[in-house]
Symmetry: C2
Subunit: 198 residues, 2 copies
């Protein structure tokens, strides 16, 4: 391949994106350079901006610009409930239903032993610590109803209960194998109401 | 959606990539921020680097760091032949076959009236100018054998012949509807040999 250095570097760098192989990366590079140079400049700045300005909220682990995010800092939320989700997108789906007023903890992942993601990688120790703040009365496990999400809920549930915490799981109102991000709001609201003690 | 500003900006910016919708963009953003921050930093730098360092070769229009690219500047190439391709990836495929020793002109596109891409957008005037340097003896049209590539070859061919230039088209050794980038080297070499005058 006869590629000028910066072009080769760009194609290689685009492969950091999930699901992007060499051919897609090349197509993306040509598109940006040829048809959307402003888009390329914006993407470069957005990446730098996100890396510099985003941190994890000290309380819920979600992405945040502040040390403590808006939800965790809000006095209008019910600080006695702590809902555990896998990803920020799941938190957003729950918020959209307006069926939940408590706080969150975002694992930023799920247990996935085959991918080398164990309890340490998804910060379960931080979740325990967070839940033992003396204010939390109930931890609601809202990980996905996939095999990995269920395993995560089971493992986290056992851990939390062994520390004397009240733990519940959102109801299996979601279709089996379903993912929070893709389910309609009514089903999610139902699952929240029907949560059962574990 | 409760997204911190820099995260929303990153997701929005990722949509500049071809074929990336809102869901993919969000997944990409989370992946980069959570699992591959180095990759994100490298991508940002690669974008800036490519935008700053890459220009179009004054002679062949391909991406290049120098004013005139390596191929156009090489005395070992046959400067009497000028092969016209749609994209840099096509040029690379031709080079890999080692069946061609002449020079190139990269259109960086193809005629596509429905997308608003006419002769001006793909720089056919620059091709004419380039081909009339007094050294070029033959222009070989190697655009794809798709409807758009064929239309481009036909239009460019007529234009070049009207200026008294000898024009040929690579042979239809490629399968109908095929694209240069995806065809084996032997077929491409055959098509080069079997080019016919138009």
């Amino acid at each position: 391949m006869l590629l000028p250095g910066p072009l080769g570097a760009l194609i290689e760098a685009l492969r950091a994106l999930p699901g992007v192989g060499p051919k897609s990366a090349a197509r993306m590079a040509y598109h940006l350079l040829q048809r959307d140079r402003n888009g390329a400049a914006r993407l470069s700045m957005a990446l730098t901006g996100a890396l510099e300005q985003l941190r994890h909220c000290q309380r819920c682990n979600n992405f945040s610009e502040a040390v403590v995010c808006e939800i965790c800092a809000s006095p209008r939320r019910d600080h006695r409930q702590l809902c555990v989700v896998e990803m920020p997108a799941d938190l957003n789906r729950l918020e959209e239903t307006q069926a939940y007023q408590g706080l969150y903890f975002v694992l930023m992942g799920r247990l996935s032993p085959l991918d080398g993601i164990g309890p340490r990688e998804i910060g379960l120790e931080r979740l325990i610590e967070r839940a033992r703040d003396g204010v939390t009365e109930e931890v609601i496990l809202a990980t996905n109803f996939t095999a990995e999400g269920e395993a995560t809920a089971h493992y986290a549930g056992e851990l939390l209960k062994s520390r004397g915490l009240k733990v519940s799981r959102i109801a299996r109102g979601l279709p089996a194998g379903g993912e929070l991000e893709h389910v309609d709001g009514m089903t999610i609201a139902q699952a929240l109401l029907d949560r059962r003690a574990v």
